[in-house]
Symmetry: C2
Subunit: 350 residues, 2 copies
């Protein structure tokens, strides 16, 4: 008998528990899962054995034989973006409340890593996928559809799965109308290329429509990648500088999300433009820091926790077959929160 020197102690299995408690593995399994049909005395005996051995059921084996996992895949655009971070947290909590474990994958807005992430999720046989951002990539779509896994798009859009989101276009109108009513005639729309998706597009449309309804010209579209750290936002950004100095006299910017809005505000602060005196800024999301007295960002508040709750409920219902049929769309309210970053435009006495 040669004993391996670094003998790896193995995790106790259901069989170890069974023999330790003097019952069959079936009985142990029933105890572990709290099924009826086990006498109180054996139940106790098994419980003791479990504690003594430190037995933990192997979820892998369980899921293999049941052919379904209790893992939810969550696709996030950027975990470090406060909006996603808040959503991720809510999603994780609601998932746990319904008995699911969340497995995140961060895409950085790149469809390559989105695809790779989704592929990993599928290989792990996730029970469902929650998209908190979706690039629109066709390969991702094909992979998910091929594997027939329930999908929900939360606060982002696609036409091949349930959608839970705010009415982005309405949000776009609300924010823009607020600007128009404050006397602004020329509005720019700012978005971050990495996060451009269907939601972003709907916001832009809403903005455009509102301007149009007011008989004003279409918004200028600006695409800007602020550096990952606000501290590195600098005054060298020509296209951005033109927003402030350009010939079209833009006096207000509607940013497609708060991170962009705050980065823009930072830019203004650095190059010496005043907000809101020189330029009004509206964001979207209402991330926690937008409410800081020093930031005071006017923005469209998304009910994050409700979005997360409805999203999880949606996939979970599909997974548990409580809901069948074609994709549904659920829209929740979006609210304008007025703060210091927007102000009535003082009209030139010209």
């Amino acid at each position: 008998m040669i004993e391996s020197p670094s003998a790896e102690r193995r995790h106790p299995t259901i069989l170890d528990v069974a023999s330790h408690a003097g019952v069959s593995k079936s009985t142990v399994s029933n105890v572990v899962r709290g099924l009826p049909g086990v006498s109180e005395s054996t139940r106790r005996r098994v419980r003791t054995a479990i504690d003594q051995l430190g037995y933990r059921p192997n979820v892998l084996a369980r899921q293999l034989v049941q052919r379904r996992t209790s893992i939810l895949g969550v696709v996030v655009g950027d975990l470090a973006n406060p909006f996603f971070a808040e959503m991720a947290k809510s999603v994780e909590r609601h998932a746990a409340a319904r008995g699911y474990t969340a497995m995140f994958c961060n895409t950085e807005g790149e469809s390559e890593s989105e695809l790779a992430g989704v592929e990993t999720l599928l290989q792990h046989r996730v029970a469902g996928i929650v998209f908190l951002a979706f690039s629109g990539d066709a390969r991702t779509k094909q992979a998910v559809l091929q594997h027939q896994v329930p999908v929900v798009f939360v606060s982002c859009g696609a036409d091949w799965g349930d959608v839970v989101s705010v009415d982005d276009s309405r949000g776009g109108r609300l924010g823009t109308t607020h600007l128009v009513e404050s006397g602004h005639r020329r509005v720019a729309y700012l978005s971050i290329p990495e996060l451009e998706d269907q939601s972003d597009h709907a916001r832009w449309e809403g903005c455009r429509e509102a301007l149009n309804d007011a008989g004003l010209g279409a918004p200028t579209h600006i695409s800007w990648s602020p550096p990952a750290e606000y501290a590195r936002v600098d005054g060298l950004d020509r296209p951005l500088l033109e927003v402030f100095t350009g010939p079209d006299r833009t006096t207000a910017v509607f940013a497609s999300n708060d991170v962009a809005a705050i980065a823009l505000q930072e830019f203004a602060d650095r190059v010496g433009y005043r907000v809101p005196e020189d330029i009004s800024i509206v964001g979207f999301d209402d991330v926690p820091m937008a409410g800081l007295a020093r930031i005071g960002l006017t923005t469209l508040a998304q009910p994050r926790d409700e979005l997360a709750r409805l999203g999880i409920a949606g996939v979970a219902d599909r997974i548990e077959r409580k809901v069948k049929g074609p994709p549904r769309t659920t829209l929740v309210k979006v609210n304008l929160v007025t703060r210091r970053s927007t102000a009535r435009l003082e009209t030139d006495p010209s």
Copy 2:
């Protein structure tokens, strides 16, 4: 033959691919894993079959037979806290780069959910666990040790696993010394109860020592739970108000982390105390928003990405048996970043 009406189409298995390509499952397995010993022609044939069927290896089955997963558990204090969000993102990226998938669990600083989360991770047979926060709970420790899974504490502390962190005590001294050199004599130390851990304690100690070395009295310790949203920070908080008005004439606060520092700044803004004229504030972490011109928080910068990288490298090396032996501690540099929230104390002409 009665065909179930809603016949669930099952995922193709390795056997389906095998018969489709006219080879044995072993060969398919070898192709999938890129092992040598398969002729180029069969390799191609198998590849085609895989594509046609949309076959994806079942990671569960693989991991069951290999008795090891490629999942890393990550325990996070609060995903919505920007410091953790940044760390989570880095950790996820470095894990993916080494071939691991991250599975997060959020503890909210409660040891109950920490325990539950770790229990879930262990049941999923994670290959290792990265703690980004640790409550110190003994049951968690016991569970992890019992299952003999490699563990690393990143930016938090414990004596039963590898540790990668900044020298918290040194950070505490650096920040405090900065205050002392600016003429402050009475310093308070502020921490958030949910995030109080070994790191927090070391920072406090560093603060205390620096004051002591300067011949000054010990810092007042304040424990404060700011509301989840900054927007709800209000002026009703008596204990906090006493920091500003109390008889001990506190002129500076060292917050154990940036979120607390920013919440305190917000509180000051709301009740009408000026930062830094009335009170200087130092934070810890250097979260992105600390660098905003409008926030300008003096703080101790943690090299987040390096922490994450070293942490992942640490667990991965343990998992892959490249490192054995007793726990190691790796300390990385912490840097004072001076911004607008601290200023030289104008001494009373009394």
